[in-house]
Symmetry: C2
Subunit: 598 residues, 2 copies
Amino acid sequence: MQDFIFGVLPSETQRLKQVMDNRSGVTHRQLRIPFDPEPGQPVTLELTVGPDFLCDRAWVYWTSHGEDPAGHMGSITTGSCTEMEFVGSEWDTPLWGYLRRFRAVLPGQPAGSVVRYRIGAAGHRSEEVLADDGAVYSYYVDCDPAPEWVREAVVYHIFVDRFYPGKGQAWLNPDSLSGFFGGRLKGITEKLDYLVDLGVTVLWLSPVFPSPTHHGYDASDYMDIEPRLGTKADLRELLDKAHQKGMRVLLDLVPNHWSSLHSTFQQAISDPNSPYREWYSFTDWPDQYECFFGNKEMPKVNLSNPAARKYMLDAVAYWLEFGVDGFRVDHAVGPVADFWADFRRVTRSVKPDSWTFGEVTDPPNVQMLFGNGMDGCLDFVLTEALRETFMYGVWCGPRLADFLDRHDAWFPPAFSRPSFLDNHDMNRFLWKVGGDQRRLRLAAMCQFTLPGQPVIYHGTEVGLSQKHDVHEPGRGLEEARLPHPWGEQQDQSLLAYYRALIALRRSQPLLQNGRRETIGFGEDGLAYTLSSPDAEEHQRFLVVLNLSGETRQQVFAGKWSPALITGAECQAVETNEGTEISLAPWGGMILHSRDMPQ
Amino acid sequence: MQDFIFGVLPSETQRLKQVMDNRSGVTHRQLRIPFDPEPGQPVTLELTVGPDFLCDRAWVYWTSHGEDPAGHMGSITTGSCTEMEFVGSEWDTPLWGYLRRFRAVLPGQPAGSVVRYRIGAAGHRSEEVLADDGAVYSYYVDCDPAPEWVREAVVYHIFVDRFYPGKGQAWLNPDSLSGFFGGRLKGITEKLDYLVDLGVTVLWLSPVFPSPTHHGYDASDYMDIEPRLGTKADLRELLDKAHQKGMRVLLDLVPNHWSSLHSTFQQAISDPNSPYREWYSFTDWPDQYECFFGNKEMPKVNLSNPAARKYMLDAVAYWLEFGVDGFRVDHAVGPVADFWADFRRVTRSVKPDSWTFGEVTDPPNVQMLFGNGMDGCLDFVLTEALRETFMYGVWCGPRLADFLDRHDAWFPPAFSRPSFLDNHDMNRFLWKVGGDQRRLRLAAMCQFTLPGQPVIYHGTEVGLSQKHDVHEPGRGLEEARLPHPWGEQQDQSLLAYYRALIALRRSQPLLQNGRRETIGFGEDGLAYTLSSPDAEEHQRFLVVLNLSGETRQQVFAGKWSPALITGAECQAVETNEGTEISLAPWGGMILHSRDMPQ
């Protein structure tokens, strides 16, 4: 990894510590099979007991109608209790002791059930120890794949304050990049035709709720719109018009925390008897409380409190009913684990074809844990891989190919993995490559031929860059949030390329989910075919990417015609042996098989 | 762990490094299921490819008649090739990448087969990488449980130079503890009646081959007897008389290395054209070569060389034919992995009821890898657990009970796990507890009621201790090798206790392999029953151990009668509620259920 941070495990030491912690205690960590059960499917739960916990019995306390299960030492107060079976021990060298493994099977449940459970373990006459420090887990039972419209989704990520102020409105001129630039919902509505022309199908808006900051990731109210950005009527108009034009709109939801200006927090800190005190986690009222990465202006919401949870779920239902099509969920690892089944129940019951995906910067083993409560997660390790390869030039072509194979094998096919080259929290790709658009085009060509739904961070398509590194002393993530260029500021050539790329992906299902097979193009290149798993289907695509600063040629077997090129110097010529493909430095090409219907 | 070293992984850092290494490369590490196949049973082999190895194909090259398999990139030269199947990827957080998992199934083979294999993996047009640095593995196919006589085995571990010089012979008076004290084979033969009285069933002799050292773990010839210790005729007499008295005799075998005085080594370093050069691993002939932990007087034998391997196997066959009943195998992790199937073939074909177990100081996951080539391994982690509990007093009773449950669950029941409280390479138990025999008796009572075959290091039964810590500057392991006391030097009370303990274990199969169930006796104690898995069988034993310096009483349900006590102040009294057991400080008792036939 290079200069930007993916998650909270930057060093090997921290990662090893996490692994050791996960094995040394009484841990479940949502190890259940299947993870996302269908109606009637039994679910196997696994438990590990480290060497220091002298537990030889374990129980699952569970309910199937959403109540909080309660029990102790195998006796239940609320719900059911299933004793876990000891299935064996396993020597663990780093811990220098044996792990105990337990297993229990919970019966299948009807569609729409929320199963909630906790696990306890105890030894002979010893105190009960709750797995994962007493965590309550839950899962929602339903056949609930992502809606069909997600398959060809191309997402456009709008940082609202920086997109467009609206006709006749100039950008504001704040003192710093963390001031207000004046982008508004109306501005987005006015630019819908631009987005239709671009070809994107889904708009993801950065937070639009009332908030004191330019980014909005600290709402003071979840039931209204920030006046700087517009009104509910403005959002209504945006939604209606976008829907008319065939686009969907996602809001950015932050269930983990909100602004200290939120009225419930203000009451909680001013009135010791306020019921809202329980909406937060005070360690020393009123000054000390859990908050977002130490930021006291962003208190963490206690979603274990039923009223706080209801408020959050009501907001989710409200905006879905209002007309939004789903959510990008900020910092999804923050809320308590058992929030997500309720979240899923609400999203699926209010709007069955809504789409939600999480921001989970933890690695894929953690992302998998969101496959029941949401449709998937933003694909951070793919971003890392694409940047290592196309931006830093650290990974060779075969390494990226190998990574892609393993990455696809890890996730279930139904798991949504929206892909991105950059976002509002990291240096823009184009800036990091010193403005070398060839690399951006090449990376995007790769991104748009992978199974994840491509996300374009607004501005990328017209050459928006930045002025300083986000990690430069005195600078910050705002460097990657410059206002969107309009008119002559836009790079029309790049825009045309993005339009073509989007159009090609949307029109060709093989580019969305074809079976990828790597073929050789040396260390400095990457070539793969995309074909149908259906053997009767002869359509195929070939993607060839030159990862070097040299022109490169190679003959590929078969007859191929260019469908898209990154730049003019790339060409394909038919020869006796097949098709000779010649690529400019950092050039790439998507080709289709000749016998394919146009 | 306290002051003595179990194996080569003393620190967490080293252990973590080993785990990381095992995952990051192209590794098999003998992960096969079943590990010890029976005739006709297919064997599944698993392979892991770390993130840095871009391998998407893998092959097993194998033979079933003992030849060395040879092949490359899926083409074979000798034997068969089975392509491995990619079965999935797994995210690994410490390595920050995905592991690839491959699997292949080798067909079942007839009894007596030695299957030999190596594994290679490669990526698209890349070089083949051999798993585990090119290691060759093998397994011997047969139904070969340890012989029946092992079930009630009680092993007596004799350090030959220190046991008995023979009638009329005085101990020698060497300058240091690493000199010769004059113990001889004849001396052992003369003391067979002592050993019969003691009740032990198996003698394990420290190395008896010609050697320049007092310990003999560096033989200069594997086909003769060290003259100081006696002659082949002396060993013949010892074997014959021991067998007549119903005892078995094991030799100590060191396949990994021998003395630099060995004639083949002398030829190898003096003649550059000697065929014996290949019997060793010279890195810079004749001065630099692989040896035992840097000790140049103990060159490592290259058992991959067919002639060297044949010499070693011939020696194994020779001594089995001579009449010995098996081997304790020194430093079994040293020889190349594929030696062991040949070793097993020879031991089982020459003497089907021989017993062999390894000295493997690595933890149980490594010990398991010797379950095909031998009957089992000396139980080092049990020694650690018993010493932590009874010697250092660091582990409480429930912790030991919990460990024992996990330990038993890990190993297959057929795996021999000879148990010991101390040996010639660590401080004697009695010395470490300051001569407190109560603790030794208590530890031995526990040892003798566990499934592993108890080993007594000679002298322990008569109170032999030592004068200095083995880790004291200027001292060494020899401190734990003082000569055996005879006559009035012997502690008759302790000897009588050991006799009773051995007799009880031998007469009661439930003490050898009863189903152990822990019952409560507080933090400072340990109590468990031993019963038959056969529900019809009502015989039961109760073992109660007081781990404190206080007298302790407790009523146990049921009627129990003492079968053995560690000291006079321990008693059992029938009460209305059951049996009240009163134990002196560090006292213990074995009881049998009243309705049990005597």
